[in-house]
C-alpha cells in the first residue's frame, strides 16, 4: 500500500509500519466555523487499514450511517468492518444519563444519577478493551466529549473523572484514545478548566481553526498539531509543533 504523504500523518508520526500511536491520548479541538470531524475520519481510515487494529467508537453526535457514508467515499467500508468485529460502534445518540444508559447496556441495576451512568459506560469500554487488546491494538474514539457533557447533564466533574479513567487504559492496555472537543464553547472563566485539563491529559492536541481572513472555497482552515513528544532514548522529552492549512475533499484531505 502506498504511503499517503500527507502532512498530517507525518506530524503524527504515523507510517505503514506503525499506523497507530500506541498508548497515547489525542485531543482534537474544533469550533463552529471549522469542524474537526475530518481528522477523526482520516484516523479511522488509517487505523482500519491495518488488520491488527480495532476501533471502539463511542458516538454522541452522528449515527453510524453518517460515518459509513463518509468513510465509504474514502474507500473504507465501515459496515464490513463492523461485521468483522474490527469496529465496535456504541451509538449513544439518544443517551441521557442515567435512565437510558441502563437500557442501552442491559443493566438492571443502576447507581445514582450521572455518575452511575458514566461508570457503566466506562465499564463497557473497559470490557471491550480488555477482551480485544490481547492480540491487537485497540483505539477508543469518542465523538465528542462536549456532547458527553450534555448527556451527563452538565456534570463536568464526572466527565473529567470518566476521561481520567479512560486515560488509565492507555497505560494498562496500551490503547489509544482519540476524542473531539469543541473549544469555542469554553471561552470564559471557570469553564476553561475543562479544555485545559483535557489538554494536560493529551499527548497530542490537534486544533482546527479558520483562517484569520475567514472561510474560503480553496482553504477550509488551518490545523495546528502540538505533540508533547515521547521520551527519547536518552530520556529527554522532545515536543513538536506543526501548523498547516487544509482543504477537505470527499475522499481525501489536501494539506
Amino acid at each position: 500500500m502506498n504511503r499517503p504523504a500527507t502532512l498530517l500523518d507525518d506530524a503524527l508520526t504515523l507510517d505503514d509500519d506503525e499506523p497507530i500511536q500506541k498508548g497515547r491520548l489525542i485531543l482534537v479541538e474544533d469550533c463552529v466555523e471549522t469542524s474537526g470531524a475530518f481528522v477523526l475520519h482520516h484516523l479511522i481510515k488509517r487505523f482500519l487499514s491495518s488488520s491488527d487494529n480495532i476501533i471502539l467508537f463511542v458516538a454522541f453526535s452522528h449515527p453510524f450511517s453518517h460515518y459509513d457514508r463518509i468513510l465509504r467515499k474514502m474507500g473504507c467500508n465501515l459496515a464490513a468492518q463492523r461485521e468483522n468485529k474490527r469496529l465496535l460502534f456504541f451509538d449513544m445518540l439518544m443517551l441521557e444519563c442515567p435512565a437510558d444508559l441502563a437500557f442501552v447496556f442491559n443493566l438492571w441495576m443502576i447507581d445514582d444519577g450521572v455518575e452511575g451512568g458514566l461508570i457503566a459506560l466506562y465499564g463497557n469500554i473497559y470490557k471491550a478493551v480488555e477482551v480485544n487488546s490481547s492480540n491487537k491494538n485497540i483505539t477508543v474514539m469518542i465523538d465528542d466529549i462536549s456532547l458527553l457533557e450534555v448527556a451527563a447533564n452538565g456534570s463536568t466533574k464526572d466527565v473529567l473523572n470518566f476521561m481520567h479513567y479512560c486515560h488509565t487504559l492507555t497505560t494498562q492496555f496500551g490503547c489509544t484514545i482519540i476524542t473531539v472537543l469543541h473549544e469555542d464553547i469554553y471561552s470564559s472563566g471557570d469553564e476553561f478548566t475543562f479544555p485545559l485539563q483535557m489538554e494536560y491529559l493529551a499527548d497530542i492536541t490537534i486544533k482546527t481553526e479558520p483562517l484569520i481572513t475567514g472561510l474560503a472555497a480553496d482553504v477550509h482552515g488551518q490545523l495546528t498539531i502540538l505533540d508533547k513528544g515521547t521520551i527519547g532514548r536518552s530520556g529527554s522529552m522532545k515536543g513538536k509543533i506543526h501548523n498547516f492549512r487544509y482543504k477537505i475533499k470527499e475522499n481525501n484531505r489536501l494539506f
Partner: protein
C-alpha cells in the same frame, strides 16, 4: 469580513475604484484583488478571469457612482447560485439566532410553516405564548398569479432527491424516485399581506404546543416524539415530510429558561429524532439571552445555522454602502449549512443576504456580495425575483 468582487476591463478603472475605497475608514483592502486581475484568459473575443474558484466573465464595468455605490452587472452572478445549496435537508435541525430588537425571524418562520401547510405536510408549532393557535392566522397565503414553478423548485427536488439517494445506498434496492419529482412542485412565493386560506389551518391540521405550559420540557418533548414517530425515515413518500417549528425556544417567560442543561438536552434529543425521520425542525432562539458558552453549544448542535439582524433606520453610512438600503428590513447571515453523509464543508458563494419586502407583499432575499474586505461593501446582486426566495426553499 465581507467580500466585494470588482471586475474591470482595465487596470486603470480598478485602481481608481481602489482609490475611492481607501477613503472609507473601515475598509481594509487586500492587494490580492489586484493580483487576481492578471490571471486573465481570452477565449474568442471574451475575456475571463479567475476569482476564487470560479471563472468570471469580464464585462464592461459600470461607472462608479460618485459617492461610492457599486453596482455589478447582473449577469456576473453565478447562474446557479443557490442559497444554502438548494433547500433544507430532510432530517436536519435548522436554528435561527434572533435579534431581540426585531422580529424578522418571524418572516422566515411564517414562510416555513405556510409552505408546509400549502403542501399538506403535517406541522407542529410551539411558541412561548398562551395561545399559539392564534399565530396561525398570521401565516401568509401563496402569491397567486405568478408562475409557481420557479427554477428553485427543481433545485429543491434535486436536493430532496439527493437526500433520498443516500437512502438508496443504504437500502440498495429502492426504485429510483425520478417519477415522483415531476409531480412535486414547491411553492416559494408568499403574499405577506394576505392571510392563509382558512381551511389549511382549520381543525387539527397544525398541532400547537405552548412552551409556557412546559415547566420541565417533558410536554414538548413528548409532543415532538409523537409527531416524529408518525414520520419514519424510510417511508418512501416525500410529500409526507413533516415540519416542526419552535419559536423563541429560550424565551425568558418560559419556566425552564434557567435550566440550561435541560434545554441542551432537549435540543440534542430532537436533533437525533429528526435525523431519523422525514422531517425538518426549525428552531429560533434569542442567542443574546444565553450565556456565550451555552449559545456556542447550541450553535454546535445546529445542522444549519442562520442569524437575522435588524438594520438600523437612518444609518447614513450604511445607506451609502448598500443600494436599496431604504427597502431593507434586515440582514440574514448563514453561519453553517447542513452537510450530511459528507465531511466536506459547504462553502457558500455568499453568506449574507438582505431581507426586503417587495411591494410590501413578498419577502425577497438579495445577496450582498462577499469578499475578504472589512466592512459591508455591498451591492444588490441581480437575482431575478423568482430566485430570490431561495432561502425559503424547503
Amino acid at each position: 469580513n465581507s467580500t466585494v468582487a470588482i471586475i474591470t476591463r482595465s487596470l486603470h478603472s480598478l485602481c481608481s475604484i481602489l482609490g475611492e475605497l481607501k477613503f472609507r475608514p473601515k475598509l481594509n483592502i487586500s492587494t490580492s484583488m489586484v493580483l487576481k486581475y492578471y490571471s486573465m484568459v481570452e477565449i474568442g473575443d471574451q475575456k475571463y478571469t479567475l476569482l476564487g474558484d470560479k471563472l468570471w466573465l469580464l464585462l464592461k464595468f459600470e461607472r462608479v457612482v460618485s459617492h461610492g455605490k457599486f453596482r455589478l452587472p447582473p449577469r456576473l452572478r453565478s447562474p446557479d447560485l443557490k442559497i444554502l445549496g438548494g433547500g433544507f435537508h430532510l432530517g436536519s435541525l435548522v436554528m435561527i439566532m434572533e435579534d431581540t430588537e426585531a422580529p424578522h425571524h418571524m418572516l422566515l418562520l411564517r414562510t416555513f410553516m405556510s409552505q408546509g401547510l400549502v403542501h399538506n405536510q403535517p406541522v407542529l408549532y410551539a411558541s412561548p405564548s398562551k395561545n399559539p393557535r392564534a399565530f396561525l392566522g398570521t401565516l401568509p397565503a401563496t402569491l397567486v398569479s405568478k408562475d409557481v414553478k420557479s427554477i428553485k423548485s427543481e433545485a429543491e427536488q434535486k436536493d430532496l432527491r439527493i437526500a433520498w439517494q443516500y437512502k438508496k445506498y443504504l437500502e440498495e434496492n429502492k426504485p429510483p424516485i425520478d417519477e415522483r419529482d415531476g409531480k412535486v412542485e414547491y411553492c416559494n412565493d408568499f403574499d405577506l399581506r394576505k392571510p392563509i386560506e382558512k381551511h389549511l389551518i382549520a381543525g387539527n391540521r397544525v398541532e400547537c404546543v405552548s412552551l409556557l405550559d412546559c415547566s420541565s420540557l417533558a410536554g414538548i418533548r413528548d409532543s415532538c416524539s409523537k409527531f416524529l414517530s408518525q414520520l419514519p425515515r424510510y417511508d418512501g413518500n416525500i410529500t409526507n415530510a413533516g415540519r416542526i417549528a419552535i419559536q423563541s425556544f429560550c424565551a425568558p417567560q418560559c419556566e425552564y429558561y434557567d435550566k440550561e442543561w435541560d434545554m441542551l438536552s432537549f435540543i440534542r434529543s430532537i436533533k437525533s429524532k429528526v435525523r431519523s425521520s422525514n422531517a425538518v425542525a426549525f428552531l429560533t432562539f434569542p442567542a443574546s439571552l444565553l450565556s456565550t458558552s451555552v449559545s456556542k453549544r447550541w450553535q454546535h448542535l445546529a445542522d444549519t445555522l442562520l442569524s437575522v439582524k435588524a438594520i438600523p433606520d437612518e444609518d447614513k453610512e450604511l445607506a451609502t454602502l448598500l443600494t436599496g438600503y431604504q427597502d431593507m428590513l434586515g440582514l440574514l447571515s448563514i453561519h453553517k449549512a447542513a452537510r450530511f453523509n459528507t465531511q466536506v464543508p459547504v462553502i457558500l458563494d455568499a453568506t449574507t443576504y438582505s431581507m426586503k419586502l417587495q411591494k410590501r407583499r413578498s419577502l425577497v432575499l438579495e445577496c450582498l456580495n462577499q469578499a475578504p474586505v472589512d466592512g459591508s461593501g455591498g451591492s444588490s446582486g441581480g437575482c431575478s425575483s423568482s430566485s430570490n426566495t431561495g432561502a425559503l426553499d424547503f
